[in-house]
Amino acid sequence: MRECLIIGRPNSGKTMFAINFAGYLGVKKVDVTFRTYDGLITCRHYAIDQAKRELCGIALHKTRSLQSMVLNMPVGKTAVKFKLTDTCGVSEQIHTDLAIRKGMAQTIGQLRSVDFILHIVDLSLVQKDDAANKANIDYEFYNYGIARNTYIMLGNKADLVAARENLPRLAAGFPQATVIPISALYSQGFREVKTYVAKNI
């Protein structure tokens, strides 16, 4: 089974995207498999709304382990199963909390073995000088993804007016990437994402 990994900074909307995307693909309930850095695997059954309530939050680093769901993607006349994995957000600095550091290491480790990468960027936080600044974790994700050639960039929070204006800036900063504006919260722009994912699984 192919695995798609969702990566990005903390609080860019990875978990919200994962759950709403599952909902967009037509499931009412999801089985989320949590894989912690020490190898413990637990599975929980959520309704979509409940999952959003329990797994998403405003505080940074709500997700600290790999959370995978197996979803069906209609391709042609059949459905292909694929695994959508949500990860702990990665930031530039060394985090003080050991659990979060381990979560970040797990994300980077996982990144190297997956089939397709969905990189989520918070459009509302894109700065003018982002492209020039190479010491930027998004830039590293971008570089890695471009080299792997199985990568798309999702500009999240496109429902915000200020964010929408940042879209050309993001596209200019990461010229080789396919950038799709989405709103994870309101499930906007998911059709394009679905097309890309379907092509790559």
Binding site: Q93, I94, R101, A105, I137
Partner: protein, 329 residues
């Protein structure tokens, strides 16, 4: 803290990507720094990519697996063949770079030999070699026999065969005792399996290597009854029976792998035990497998011999004596 981490990074050389991940966990380097390190491993920065399309480690890895093959006793024909294929693939890659016509490689094979002459072992190693060379995408080996391929009612066979083939794409499908597919006579479903197999090996020759294995005599008859088959398998390999010396070498190797030793008397006792069949006899002698069974039984008997002793030296624990071999069949 960041500056300190950079210093750490400069001091420490990370040997494996996992070490880098451990360093992130320990707070020695930042994720940003980690990416830089990992890029060094991957050697994939956009300006520094390998133009030949092969990773620098590939040749080394192929060489490692080939040395695994070289370690097998005997089998000189197989070793030669694998080297040939290796060279061929390398040259095809170079030709491709010069935009010359490249041949798709058909590597379906037939292995003929008595039981225990290394057919399955060689097939497994080939799978690994071909994956590293880039001939196969996955390089796994699916081992099947008649019962996995032939169905119970009309139409069932093609379905079963197709399922097995689907599992094998990207790797090797190894059909053991392949002659049994043609054994059942006119109304047997085995024929249907062969038809399905022939179609798949033509249509999917880029992503599948089919290996038929079986005893020498039976395979010859099998190929004679299906005239189209022989030409579809460009590579035929005979696995000759091992002679006594080779079997002894195998025994030595098996012992060494388990950290045991045969002393000289035990070796001569072993030589007395193994009687390779003469060419005329149709004895189903197990070859290397028989030797393995003998050694394993001897190891158990050595354990029984040593158990009553209260203190044993390191050497005693390693040496297999002639007594351990007597009575072993």
């Amino acid at each position: 803290m960041l500056s300190q981490s950079l210093r750490w990074g400069e001091i420490m050389a990370y040997l494996w990507p996992n070490d880098v991940l451990k360093a992130i966990e320990a707070g020695q380097i930042s994720p940003l720094e980690a990416f830089k390190r990992l890029r060094e491993f991957d050697n994939t920065p956009s300006n520094n990519r390998d133009v030949s399309g092969t990773q620098p480690g590939t040749a080394q890895r192929v060489e490692n697996i080939l040395s695994e093959l070289d370690n097998l006793i005997g089998l000189s024909e197989v070793k030669l063949l694998v080297r040939e294929i290796n060279a061929f693939i390398e040259i095809q890659k170079r030709r491709e770079k010069e935009r010359l016509i490249t041949e798709p490689l058909v590597l379906h094979m037939i292995f003929k030999g008595n039981p225990g002459t290394g057919k399955t072992t060689v097939a497994r190693i080939l799978g690994k070699v071909f994956r590293e060379m880039g001939v196969l995408s996955r390089g796994h080996l699916i081992e099947v026999e008649r019962a996995d391929l032939v169905g119970e009612y009309i139409g069932h066979t093609a379905q079963k065969m197709r399922d097995q083939l689907k599992r094998a794409y990207g790797g090797i499908l190894f059909i053991d005792e392949a002659y049994s597919l043609a054994r059942g006579g006119e109304k047997d479903f085995g024929k249907e399996a062969i038809d399905c197999m022939v179609k798949a090996m033509e249509d999917h020759k880029e992503e599948l290597i089919l290996i038929l294995a079986g005893y020498q005599q039976e395979m010859e008859t099998f190929l004679q009854t299906n005239p189209g088959l022989r030409s579809r398998f460009p590579i035929h390999i005979d696995f000759p029976d091992y002679n006594k010396q080779e079997l002894l070498q195998i025994a030595d190797q098996l012992c060494a792998k388990r950290q045991y030793q045969l002393n000289s008397q035990a070796k001569s006792a072993l030589l007395g035990l193994i009687n390779p069949p003469t060419i005329s006899s149709k004895d189903n002698f197990g070859n290397a497998r028989t030797v393995r069974n003998i050694i394993e039984k001897a190891i158990r008997r050595q354990a029984v011999r040593l158990l009553p002793k209260h203190s044993t030296t390191r050497e005693e624990l390693m040496v297999i004596e002639p007594d351990d071999l007597t009575g072993v069949e």
